[in-house]
Symmetry: D3
Subunit: 314 residues, 6 copies
Amino acid sequence: MVKGIAHYEVGQQVDTHLLIKASTKGIASNGKAFLTLILQDQTGEIEAKLWDASQDDEVTYSSQTIVKVIGDIHHYRGRNQLKLRNIRPVQEDDNVKIADFLETAPVAKEDMHKKITQYIFEMKNSNIQRITRYLLKKYGTDFLEYPAATKNHHEFISGLAYHVVSMLDLAKAVSTLYPSLNKDLLYSGIILHDLGKVIELSGPIGTTYTVEGNLIGHISIIVNEIGKAAEHLEIEGEEVIVLQHLVLSHHGKAEWGSPKPPMIKEAEILHYIDNLDAKMNMLDRALEHVKPGEFSERIFPLDNRSFYKPAFLK
Amino acid sequence: MVKGIAHYEVGQQVDTHLLIKASTKGIASNGKAFLTLILQDQTGEIEAKLWDASQDDEVTYSSQTIVKVIGDIHHYRGRNQLKLRNIRPVQEDDNVKIADFLETAPVAKEDMHKKITQYIFEMKNSNIQRITRYLLKKYGTDFLEYPAATKNHHEFISGLAYHVVSMLDLAKAVSTLYPSLNKDLLYSGIILHDLGKVIELSGPIGTTYTVEGNLIGHISIIVNEIGKAAEHLEIEGEEVIVLQHLVLSHHGKAEWGSPKPPMIKEAEILHYIDNLDAKMNMLDRALEHVKPGEFSERIFPLDNRSFYKPAFLK
Amino acid sequence: MVKGIAHYEVGQQVDTHLLIKASTKGIASNGKAFLTLILQDQTGEIEAKLWDASQDDEVTYSSQTIVKVIGDIHHYRGRNQLKLRNIRPVQEDDNVKIADFLETAPVAKEDMHKKITQYIFEMKNSNIQRITRYLLKKYGTDFLEYPAATKNHHEFISGLAYHVVSMLDLAKAVSTLYPSLNKDLLYSGIILHDLGKVIELSGPIGTTYTVEGNLIGHISIIVNEIGKAAEHLEIEGEEVIVLQHLVLSHHGKAEWGSPKPPMIKEAEILHYIDNLDAKMNMLDRALEHVKPGEFSERIFPLDNRSFYKPAFLK
Amino acid sequence: MVKGIAHYEVGQQVDTHLLIKASTKGIASNGKAFLTLILQDQTGEIEAKLWDASQDDEVTYSSQTIVKVIGDIHHYRGRNQLKLRNIRPVQEDDNVKIADFLETAPVAKEDMHKKITQYIFEMKNSNIQRITRYLLKKYGTDFLEYPAATKNHHEFISGLAYHVVSMLDLAKAVSTLYPSLNKDLLYSGIILHDLGKVIELSGPIGTTYTVEGNLIGHISIIVNEIGKAAEHLEIEGEEVIVLQHLVLSHHGKAEWGSPKPPMIKEAEILHYIDNLDAKMNMLDRALEHVKPGEFSERIFPLDNRSFYKPAFLK
Amino acid sequence: MVKGIAHYEVGQQVDTHLLIKASTKGIASNGKAFLTLILQDQTGEIEAKLWDASQDDEVTYSSQTIVKVIGDIHHYRGRNQLKLRNIRPVQEDDNVKIADFLETAPVAKEDMHKKITQYIFEMKNSNIQRITRYLLKKYGTDFLEYPAATKNHHEFISGLAYHVVSMLDLAKAVSTLYPSLNKDLLYSGIILHDLGKVIELSGPIGTTYTVEGNLIGHISIIVNEIGKAAEHLEIEGEEVIVLQHLVLSHHGKAEWGSPKPPMIKEAEILHYIDNLDAKMNMLDRALEHVKPGEFSERIFPLDNRSFYKPAFLK
Amino acid sequence: MVKGIAHYEVGQQVDTHLLIKASTKGIASNGKAFLTLILQDQTGEIEAKLWDASQDDEVTYSSQTIVKVIGDIHHYRGRNQLKLRNIRPVQEDDNVKIADFLETAPVAKEDMHKKITQYIFEMKNSNIQRITRYLLKKYGTDFLEYPAATKNHHEFISGLAYHVVSMLDLAKAVSTLYPSLNKDLLYSGIILHDLGKVIELSGPIGTTYTVEGNLIGHISIIVNEIGKAAEHLEIEGEEVIVLQHLVLSHHGKAEWGSPKPPMIKEAEILHYIDNLDAKMNMLDRALEHVKPGEFSERIFPLDNRSFYKPAFLK
């Protein structure tokens, strides 16, 4: 198996296929154009400069293209950089495809789907169950492929479903320890809380915000969807308002984007479970390549903190 | 015409009908019960104590009852108080009704309805026009009677419609001076921005928050309604998202309850027009009884400031 | 079994023993002294006024005295109040003792001690294990009896140990779902994080802050104790600093009293587990007497929010 | 008529006169000097690099020089850049002057002066009228030429007067709709509110802050001027204090630079009118070149928001 | 010498003259009026209730009246209260005057005046010296009698001058240790920084804010006065702006009322010296009656902190 | 004597020895490596580029190496830059040593030690005196050599001791003017307040944070040390807690890193003295090279303000 780009050390030579994640043109001080390429595989990404780039190069080496590169790993401003000695576009017989280079959730889509379906199956309140099942069915295909965000946490293929499955398992453990919690509300709130992201975001690859995502946001989007689902299913109980509230308040505070703070016990706990899973994901990824006795890079969404891996944790 | 309760001076005698707005039982240090009555007419309200209240008195003098009172105006802790000498419930031949004691917008409902209809009529974009007309029709009856809030500004009968009409007139003047503004968006945004209050609030009298008002809030309520209206009218253009955004962002900032800040020019201006009209209303009411050369009471929603009426403004 | 004071409704008659939690003298407008008594049993507390109190009464009905009372439940300013018809001090043959009136953790001290000991027993890192065991032994007696706070959450006898045991169980579940977490660190951090409260607070009954508690605070107190324990046990590894950091940072942010924010993964998660357990405790207690379809009183440490119990949660 | 620099698209060729707004020397990685030129005309500005710049070039191509350039429009880091093919200083027979390249208010100075004079003429309170007229006369020449700021809004020649005139027209509309407002106060407050900028700023071209501007600020400067004017005109009424207050408080809050918040109704409304006109100006300029269906660049003084131009606004 | 009112203990009998600082009418639950009197002498103040007060009593026992009282010290809600047994207005032959009951600076006005004059005499920059001398002369009489505030610190007769003299002595010590400081600037800034309070406040007794104080504030008032003084003295150097800046910025930050933050070294240090002296004054007064081993009451302007007097400080 | 690097003007030629403070590799647009060198002597530092750097150069010109350079001073982006014409490593007979290039406190270590010892000698409370003396002895060697910080203020050799000595002198002056202050507490608090920095920081040269510094911080480190010292010296009085509190609270507020705010008078004053000395140091250094009539660079720890040196201060 080929070594991932994240595992090379300074001075090593690289001879592998990589995917161009981004390609930006610059003009050097000698007046000639160059390309700054962000190259990725499933383990991570690295920057490379393609000097004296022709107009053809700009087209050939654009985003979402697979390339074959040969070069050396340098250290530049605290990060590794790939100094290219050779680059060419993928050829038919190279036998690689884009999916080989994209990070994906560690659990298969089908398994996640099965698990979530089981959680819905266990619900006792039929109003909650029907709304949840209806919306999962309506948006299920995208839901199983979208990332949970464009960056920060679960920003990989199927990250959204993976985040939801982890939260469901955590919710199950928490509600076992605190039996006063209503499992139906908690499970449904978790399954729906970020579902609006399938409309807020553009898709699983090269993810950006849609106009609707920018102007309305995933919270209001899914609150609307719950309202329409209830109308369609002819459900009128307080469950509709309560589910809308759980989703509406899951960012916890107005200044974090929730027009109402949690005012129901399960809404408060949903906010905590969401936070805990998101932060575990950030921390695990940030500390993955950190050696015992060293600090990670600063993690912006964790208040820009740098985390230490104790030396005795071998 | 009878003098309003707000116009009495300390030492004057009162002999008039008033409406009990609130009645709260207390226990005096001699162990006997008393009632604290808030009595109102259209000009304002005053506190009175009914000492040695029997259990019958508690029932007779409860909230929303009209009474005939005789007493004197005292000064107590910076406010006027009515010292009761005589009180009795209204009698059939007193020829007064509750509406006589409630503050109401200074313009008739019918006139406001006509004016708003005219603004809708002038719209050129039929998607915006149809959604606005549909929702006004759906909630028009309540819209013309509800207050705009439980306190702070326009907290009187038909206050919601009165606030909207004032804003529309202001928007017309502003968009004449700044012709780059789109009138359709501005007018529709104004008509819809607080319409969710007919669900958020309990009604025109003794107004409180409903459960849906507390858990979802008028902003998300009306955003949902716009979505349902568009579905019902089979409108699919970007106008739907844009109108939802105008309403969604009209509180201006996340910490003021808008999950998204204004990101469209007309949304930003709508926020300003809303603010300006609300503050004019607060200021005019706070300064109404202040004499030139004196300061008003502190106005809580205006950062608890006290306002001065210059001595040369006779 | 006698009905608890929290379960009486307005209009019902009370004839029971209660403990005076606080007794404050006032002077009525007739110039005579009266006592405001806060009376409690294990279910809650209620206010009562003792009018025309003599100087003897002040002594007889002072704090921490058990009394026999007869009276009626009234409603006053949104809370129940006990209108006394008769009150006398406890008599020898009444056969009640103070402990009968104090709220206590729902798990026996011995069971909690056994559970915590087991968690320590399972630790694999002997430095962490020895420091934890040493400090638990040093302060164990008080630890098993103290509340976790003077108010807000776990403010009852053995509340501190109960909070720790709940957190340990939660930590076990969380670290099973997220196996990258180091259990030793998490368990030790939880056992020690609030242990300084046995010095910060005055004791299990009528709890107040000590001078050392006010000036130094439980966080710095226990950080010092860890340092001294390590010196005593001649442990010099990085475990000492790391344990100190876990305790030091468990309030999460400087403005919440942690001189350093969490900079180790287990410190971050400890902060979350602490928060989640404390809030579950507050929420369960606040919602205990709330009926479905109603809102709780405002809960100050939860940003003064009022929580709703959905009507369909029967 | 020549096409403005803001209207060129990538790939087009430029052959025109431009004004050097700023010229900064850099040293390229080959050790040779180069100049970064910001070139402007009335429609906007563009960056260009002059490579291998000699010491003579530094002098020839300094700030406030007109040049004749030939080159191509490139795209670089999200902005257009001019790649120079030829550059030479202006020649006598080129028949261009600096004023041709500077952005100016869309209304002539004389017309603005006339309009403001008319507003003063309509004032009824002679104290307010005399102070306003005196200060406008004292600083009128600069007032009609200065920008309203060095950046953010109305940062062009005569921008200060243009801002004031727009505000006066808006104030007239507002006070017609809310007749309780005192027009004299509002008009005078508007005319004076930013007049201190003629001392705070260095002048209409290449505008920077003066020492007095930095240390005292335009608010305190004009408050002092009002005091001196009153002394000179021997006016002693409360109007002096009230006018000073209007200017002093027009930033609205202490943290925005007003030592006192508005405490007079007209002061509060002046603050709103100032804000509304400033933001309309920012928004119109930011959206000028944005196409329907696209977002503007981020606007720093509008909380760094990016604004959307709806696709249906053709 | 008579014992001051602050030195009585609970249970002791009082028989002395006191000054009525404030007198407020209330209505008791028996319907009769009573007066709440705040009685003071130079050591402090105490509350007393005058029950069953007639309309004559309201006049006789109004603010700024000296009374002869007999009564007992009680404890009520954490504070001492005087239970009146007898009260009568002062009589001619009682031989007491208002000044006997007012707290005054511990240094004589003449001595303070002499000291400040000496500091001015030592100045070397004649522009600074002349402006300072001119303004001290213009407002000197009031300056020597006014308090420095209505509450919080130096809120006694001649408190303003006393605060300034303490700051001057501190400035002398500081500038000896840090010789880079310009003494002229520092001394003049200190003498002038709060001089506007002679216009902002109503006078030395029963001090309130004037209209000008409320609308303009002491900072802007004295900045204007410096400008007028310079004009009168025909001084045009940068000293004028710099002195204005020192005063303008002495609250340190915009949110604390300074439209500009300190931007000159001596301005920054002036802010610190002002703070240090004000806080020493608050702390000394708050701790005056606190016994070793006890905490003071909460001090609002010190972030509502309570201060501890160590037990070993006998 | 050789001219310091801070005193060269643009255009002047440099021929001197300098110490490499930092050396960072970059890759130029021609693909060749270059080094960015920060060169320093006791007066300041300057940047230089070493183009076309070989791998040998990287080793030869690494951090903490002395070099002989010849070059010219250029201006680049608002700062001076040294354009190298020649560079070579130091040679044995150059007769320079690292200490010649490092900034050091202006007072000799021995003199500072003597002065601090004298302050301890004057203490009257033997508990305070013994703890202070013990800790100074334990960490004295490092204390006299460490800087007070890695940047911002007193960031030079022996800066920590120099900061303490300046504060002691200031404390002496302050406690003379305010005799209610306890000198023992103030002096001991000052000597100990930053002593934890000898563990928090790595050493006097190329100073960074240690792991313990990052995770625990100098405040908690020294609080622990005081506890251990007291245990070692068998001191049990309240002095221990009080000294710990003084150190613990010297950052003033929770959000500035103090888990408790000052709650003892001397703690409050210690915080002020610390601030005043730190800011004087920053201001003096920032203004050192500023000419009268000009502004300094922005000073980040002083809220990013720029300070003005008045033109009349020649």
